[in-house]
Symmetry: D3
Subunit: 272 residues, 6 copies
């Protein structure tokens, strides 16, 4: 039994006596192009978290299915919280866990737009309660890999499509999947993605909305690297999807075990 | 297809063209006595909402699994938000839906402690956006019935046990279920439940914590009405559970259809 | 001497040495139909509190005359605070009293719309300061009675008219008093009052504005029970008014004495 | 009829058709030395406002009896709001009045500590709603006078004692009144009052608490000007009190009439 | 070395071991009539603070160049913070200093509109951290003087022009300087400045915008006192400017030394 | 003339008629190792912004010298704002500029810790006012380069030392500069910097404080790439510093010109 929701309070109490770590999956409900359901982010996060829980026995809290998705709101079906509100939710979850002795929390974050809010909350939590948190994101785990020539982090790209497919096939329409390169609006300032541009050899941060740079809502590169046979999503088969998911779950399972025993020397203020 | 999470944004867009109503299930993660999992409230709410969605075709959003549970926090496993934070979450969900033309929202609330926050948000939403919301709660639906001598609203009582059992049996330990009458602390001021007392023939509101009035976390009356054979939870069989759940789902399905077409004359300010 | 406002600080200091209880009356400034002054709620609360103070010697703070009345704002003369603001006011009053050793506070609330804000504040106060508060409302005290066939809680109904009449006759126009049944807007969803509806045998919460369901601002039932001779307010005589006020004051005086000595076992967190 | 509280909403509606001005009295509940009741500030403000209402027919709202009194909180019986909370209360009152066409509001402020919060609110109100507000304070009105050698603004000094005496004698203990010069704590920085110091020929603002500079809670100068026979409060007779109150009420009555017709050219942004 | 910004942290650490006082200059970026740069307030404050630092060795923090200037916003180039935001900035600066043992902070405030926010923050700081702060303003220092017949506090008047001229000549256009008396809008209520009026022999506070009462943005009196030869700014020579600045710096230098050793008895709550 | 602070409001008004772009430099006051002054971040930002202003004629606002530096607070001399407060400051600056027609704002950010707050504010500004903002950071500009084997972004590393040296030599102690590799606390989770770790071939975000991973406060790699002769800071000569600063200023000058004319198609909501 790893899911907190299924435990009675005496069972939870017993569990808190044996572990100091909990997993909190967080996702979003937002547009994911023409071919993924708007629940893609929370569906993946929830599935990954439960698989990790099953494998490691780590305590898994229910998924928070709403996140910070304001930049997608022009696309129907996007439900968005303000960063302030999500930050509060995250902080209060940590605060609740702290009451029962949990001082290591792993956030399995399925949506990049949540990162600022989660980071804000966990810094505050470390300061006020001493809790040490980590944020793991499947695209960070896959960041050193090329997925058939594409970077893992693409919105509704190859990797994300695979993970959703492996988690809940009924939220995927493979027949409508199309590669959608970021639309350019200027000769000199090249948009890399909705929040980042390149000017000459440097980077610049420009917060655009998805609708400014993509018509389908997906944000991929057509051929970021020249890999033969990837002009569409046909390489993203159920088998590939399973394997990718397994890689993510394996990494996370190992990390969770390592993080539980990570001991950071309590920082001591100088000058006091 | 009724679950928003499974729809792509063009599918969601099409749906918003045909309906102005959405269902938002909200629960909590909090202690439910010795025999129910701490996820009982969101598990029921999510299950009921999906059954209603399936039956009526109404659009169902993902469940919000965290609620306002501060009064239970002395019992391990309770994760609580402040009322302010839940109110923000609810408000921002309505605001997001409003962008796509949804102006009727039914909140299926699985936890009484959330009511203040939800009500606060929906009043503000009506004022600012004109959206008309309704809150339905299974104990309100069952309020005119006696459940083997017990009122439906009891925390971890007969009705709640039945609904959790019918929704997710692995979150129920029937062998540990015990009736726990509210503990009395005064001769004259009789505590009815954690927030309500009776003094002479009048009522008084006194906010206590659950731990003040119950050792198990359940709050039931031993024999509120004299019904033979109900000194324990043995009457709450899987069959009974199914029937009760069906009654709730049937009522809600009918209500959702009625509410979609409820037309309230827009209030006009006097004196302007 | 029972009114805090009349005491010098050394007199207040002496009093705080002898008692741990204070009474805080709270009302509202909002429309009360065609026949009651908009100050009805605070006028009653202030009058009742002073009568209880006189009778029991309990310390009485000045009345807070503004409350949460947004649902009445279409009717001229309604002054409304947001729930957040009233909650802050209440919390800070308790915090101030806590400095001088007061840990039992009785809120005499004259307006139902304030209940959420007061409850929010007193829960927080109990958590943070240990103060135990109670909210008493005259319609809760009279809830087991029928007032010539009408429930006590009706807005600008029989009971409220009587209490205002007994407190300040110049705020009452008996010649304009009319019974105003809640206006129905749907065949199936019957509105009970502005925030509550009945559908089949269950209840549903729908926050409407008063103006949606009443033209006069009063919300009464024409003949909720068949009591001969109550098609108008003629039964609400000054004598009846005095008697009803006396009943309320007597109950509250007894309660205040009982509450002062109520001892709740300090809740102890489990799992710590 | 001038008191809003006594009017029904149709009467209020009629009144709003004839005037665009309302009076809001605000006070405090805070220590006032050994001889004045802690309600002195709201008692005076309420009394003055009603007298002005009676004389001019101007609409008078109920008194807000709680204010910003944190600097007095070491003296028992002081009930204090934060400046943020009072500012909200004031803003929301103006907002409510704005709904019915009131765009001139006169705040009769009985406590200097409230000024920052009131000013904050009325600036915001002017910006957002166009309402023009004025704050009148009896010590500002009397600022050009010497009260038996004392400035009018002294806390619990001659003028304040007189106004309380004329408003509610039962809140005054003349036999305990003593002059209390501000206690000095430094040779060079002379404290003028709790928030202001003098250094050489310049002024400096240092926020101290009353308890830092006064033992009785009063803050007066022993002999700020040499007026024979004023070593105590014996000159503050009921007759003197009546006369002083009359002067204040007369000034305010005239001001209210003048302010109702004050027309300020709507400021027009430059550069647009 | 007096400027904190130039110190490494070990140098700062050493300094905190020797002093408990720091200086924080605060200004504004807002219109200053036809002849002064919009940075006038922060330029003066920064210059004065550095001169005081140089002379006394006191630690000087970087200048906060943005302040509360909403009442000037109709004039282009005015950058304004809300009072709430500036108050937070000030509070968090004090909080940061408190970590390193600084419990005396002198705010050199160059803009009167900031006073409410600074005062709010330093009261809260005193309460929560025990830090004792002072606010010094050059016009308070010069308040007992007449500057060629004008009061020092005039916005963009003689004194302010002189201090800007002495601090940064390139921010001054002496050839465009004109005296601009406050515009009157009523026969009876005489406006003294944008927030203050005179009615008969009393004062009244009316928050107007600068644009309501001045066309140039300056607010001076034509001939507040009859001093020959001051119909324009010709008396404000560079030499006069230097002398005035020197007077201010000398006063502040002496004050800083005095304030460092000011010992206030810790206020003790009564009644506890 | 490019500095807003030196312009009178009519000069500012004229300028706003010719440009729609402004530059806002933002820094921090925080520890920068053993050899840089705590003002390093704002000093660089301010210097760069003024050089860009001089070269391009773009309007430059005063530098905001305080930022989000909580993770450095154990090192004396660090003054930190909360992210919420800095976000408010930034938002209100944009709001002020919007009044005068500025709808392109370039934030020259000298401190990475500010990025979340600035990004939060500019997203909100784009949403509410349509203003398009960009954030440029010197380490983003230099991100494709190796600085004698080191990445540009190191805290108090080669690049930052050079820029501070070129901006204000008196804030640099070259004789105390030491390379300080990030301290490791775990065998498997390798800390890359205070907020980022590497586990196997993936990344994980763990918010630590600087003091957890560095004793000097600097965070550099000893030899991230093997470049001969860089075991200390001796390569960072004044000449190198000038050249690096020049590169940054040249890039920013070009970018500012390009950004002024960047036209983004106004995003249009779908489904409306």
């Amino acid at each position: 039994m790893f899911e907190l929701s299924n435990m009675t309070w005496p069972e939870a109490e017993e569990r808190f006596g044996k572990t100091n770590l909990a997993i909190v999956p967080i996702g979003a409900t937002e547009q994911h192009g023409l071919h993924l359901g708007v629940g893609a982010d929370w569906i993946q996060a929830w599935n990954i978290a439960r698989m990790v829980g099953e494998r490691t026995g780590a305590l898994v809290l229910p998924v928070m299915p709403y996140g910070v998705s304001g930049h997608h709101k022009e696309f129907p079906g996007t439900i968005t919280l303000t960063p302030e509100t999500l930050q509060e939710v995250v902080y209060e979850i940590i605060e609740s866990l702290d009451r029962y002795g949990i001082d290591r929390v792993v956030f399995m974050n399925g949506h990049g737009g949540n990162l600022g809010a989660i980071t804000g909350a966990i810094k505050e939590a470390r300061e006020n309660m001493g809790t040490l948190c980590a944020v793991v994101q499947w695209w960070d785990i896959l960041s050193s890999r090329s997925i058939y020539g594409h970077p893992a982090e693409e919105h509704a790209g190859y990797a994300e499509t695979a993970l959703t497919l492996a988690s809940r096939p009924e939220a995927v329409r493979m027949d409508r999947a199309v590669l959608t390169p970021t639309r350019q609006v200027d000769d000199e300032i090249q948009l890399v993605r909705s929040g980042l541009g390149r000017f000459k050899d440097g980077l610049v941060r420009i917060p655009l909305s998805t609708v400014d740079v993509s018509e389908t809502g997906s944000m991929t590169e057509a051929h970021p690297e020249d890999v033969p046979g990837t002009s569409d999503y046909s390489k993203i088969t159920p088998e590939f999807a399973e394997t990718l998911l397994e890689d993510v779950v394996a990494w996370m399972s190992d990390f969770v075990k390592g993080f539980e025993s990570l001991s950071v020397p309590l920082n001591k203020p100088r000058g006091e």
